[in-house]
């Protein structure tokens, strides 16, 4: 085995990925105080960006409903806590949060995913408002409470659960890309009518992946709720969580599976560094970056990385060949 095979994508990528996960998983042991909450937030943004891309990336249906699913998870979690103690084991609460969001996505998806792209976007945009008002109505007239206290969960546990959700999300993305489902989704994105003619049950594919992406958003919401401690419909259903996943995914690039990860990380980290000083300038700059990316870099940051990698690969193989030629000359 020579270096070229070893350095090839097939071996290198899984090894690096496993290393990263191990590093992240052991992070609470050696990082400074205050790093873990920050990392938890970064992971949350990455999950939202990745799960948004899971559905909207290949199909091209731009969803603005992320916050509705995220909020469903938050609220499911809030309802499953009573006087600061979880009614179910914590992992079950997370799964319930995900399932609540999935069920919501299935109902909504069955009704609206027949709609043409632009109508779907408009519809999903209003969904958040509807969900928030429904919960407000429920709390106001049925339960008579303004908001709810969620139990406190140890920060490291929250971090580990967040990491586990991220790994599960990325694995799902990976397996969808390699499956018939992934191909069907790409077909829908390229030409929906042609895909339907070729025997793809387009509504089923769309609703299924919509529900899958909602599951991860809901699960994230369920764990985030335990950090926020207090939740009411206005806090749970915040428009920002519809907008930011899209922003992060587009800036990162939806063509490559790691695009939204890059976008989510860049956004969340820069937000942490800049927001306390200049919150509005930060949003101004990020909005401008998004416009510029759409104009000049349709593949997002990921396409820059790909370009760099190709150039590096070319350079490496040139060096390698040069080395071989020298050896030949010697013998």
């Amino acid at each position: 085995m020579n270096i070229a095979t070893f350095a090839s994508k097939r071996f290198l990528v899984p090894v690096v990925l496993v290393l990263i996960v191990v590093l992240l998983a052991t992070a609470p042991l050696y990082t400074a105080l205050g790093t873990i909450p920050l990392m938890t937030t970064i992971l949350m943004y990455i999950i939202l960006a990745v799960s948004w891309t899971m559905f909207s990336g290949p199909t091209g249906y731009i969803s603005l409903a992320s916050a509705a699913f995220f909020g469903c998870g938050i609220y499911a979690s809030a309802l499953l806590f009573e006087r600061g103690a979880a009614l179910l084991p914590l992992p079950a609460v997370i799964v319930m949060g995900g399932l609540a969001a999935s069920c919501f996505a299935i109902i909504v998806g069955l009704a609206t995913l027949r709609l043409r792209g632009i109508y779907f976007t408009m519809f999903s945009f209003g969904l958040l408002e509807l969900a928030r008002r429904l919960f407000q109505y429920y709390e106001f007239y049925v339960t008579g409470v303004r908001g709810r206290y969620v139990g406190n969960v140890d920060g490291n546990t929250v971090y580990y659960i967040m990491l586990a959700i991220l790994v599960a999300t990325l694995l799902t993305v990976y397996f969808i890309r390699r499956s018939r489902l992934g191909l069907a989704m790409q077909g829908i994105g390229k030409n929906e009518e042609a895909a339907a003619h070729m025997g793809v049950n387009t509504t089923k594919v769309k609703v299924l992946t919509f529900a899958l992406s909602a599951f991860f958003m809901g699960a994230t919401g369920a764990i985030v709720a335990t950090r926020w401690l207090y939740v009411d419909p206005t806090i749970a259903f915040n428009l920002n969580y519809s907008f930011l996943p899209l922003l992060m995914a587009i800036v990162g690039g939806v063509g490559q599976p790691y695009g939204p990860v890059v976008g989510g990380f860049a956004f969340a980290y820069l937000r942490h560094v800049l927001q306390s000083k200049t919150p509005y300038y930060f949003m101004l700059v990020f909005g401008a970056i998004m416009v510029l990316v759409i104009l000049f870099l349709p593949g997002g940051l990921a396409s820059l990385i790909e370009r760099g990698r190709h150039r590096l690969g070319g350079l490496m193989s040139k060096l390698w060949k040069g080395d071989q030629a020298e050896q030949h000359a010697d013998t």
Partner: protein, 290 residues
């Protein structure tokens, strides 16, 4: 209760008049330029704040700012289209691809405009008092500024409709909306027409914002709400139809006023239910062609 009915109807028409202007701009930008402008509400918010600043800093009458702001917004819209959206249109493989990418670009603009407004006008909702005294019309007591705003809203909407229907430029716009390629073959400079339309959409948002600031208090977060309302109205009236937007705006204004009177918490969900039913039953709207 009966005595409230004329007041509800008047307030409904006032709200509806502003909704109509909002939706006409939105529908024009989508119908002709094919940009689903998610930042439309932010344009309205920005116009409302500009009016307040002009009034507070320079003492410029809001009715005069109507012209200043609309002209400024028209220029901004024209430039936005001829730089950003035209380039996107040229580089998009299909109209569907352009609709997605322009939507995303508009989304980026939303952040830029909102953040700019929050930097310039930080803090709580603002309010200006302009013609804030009651007058009586047909036995109903209303605020003078509301009457002025309503008459301007209807006047602007009618003038705009006649511009579209009766002038040469309006004809070119309608031709470009119908079939852009053929309109191009007929000697219409479609690039210019599209930019003009996007500018007109922005100018209509400007009008709506100025009239809004005359009657209500404004906040930097109000934009999103108006984008949502514009969407509901244009789906009600038919996406791309200008008369549909006008009629849809008035209908929604009256519905919203009735709901605000009886069940304020239900106003937005009710809009939304209307929206869902319309999308599922008749996505082309009341005035749209199927």
């Amino acid at each position: 209760m009966i005595g409230f009915i004329p007041k509800i109807i008047f307030n409904g028409i006032l709200t509806g008049g502003i909704y109509a202007l909002v939706a006409m701009g939105f529908t024009l930008q989508y119908g002709v330029a094919r940009v689903l402008n998610l930042a439309h509400g932010e344009f309205i918010m920005f116009a409302a704040f500009s009016t307040l600043s002009l009034y507070v800093l320079f003492g410029i009458n809001p009715l005069l700012s109507l012209a200043i702001v609309a002209l400024g917004f028209w220029i901004i819209g024209f430039l936005l289209h001829s730089t950003l959206f035209r380039k996107l249109l040229k580089s998009s493989p299909s109209l569907g691809a352009f609709e997605s990418s322009s939507l995303l670009a508009a989304f980026g603009l939303l952040f830029v405009i909102q953040a700019t407004a929050k930097i310039i006008w930080p803090g709580l909702p603002w309010r200006v008092t302009f013609l804030a005294y009651p007058i009586r019309i047909l036995g109903v007591q209303v605020m003078a500024n509301q009457v002025v705003a309503l008459s301007f809203a209807i006047g602007i909407a009618l003038a705009f409709y006649f511009f579209l229907m009766r002038t040469r430029m309006g004809k070119a716009i309608r031709a470009a909306a119908e079939d852009r390629a053929t309109a191009g073959f007929m000697g219409i400079n479609t690039d210019r027409v599209l930019a003009l339309c996007f500018g007109l959409g922005a100018a209509l948002a400007g009008f709506a914002g100025v009239l809004y600031s005359m009657c209500y208090s404004v906040s930097t977060n109000m934009g999103m709400n108006y984008t949502l309302i514009a969407m509901i109205v244009v789906v009600l009236g038919g996406l791309g139809s200008v008369p549909g937007a006008f009629i849809g705006g008035l209908i929604l204004g009256i519905i919203s006023e009735i709901l605000n009177w009886t069940q304020p918490l239900f106003a937005m969900p009710a809009f939304y239910v209307i929206f869902i039913i319309l999308l599922l039953v008749r996505p082309t709207g009341i005035m749209g062609k199927s």
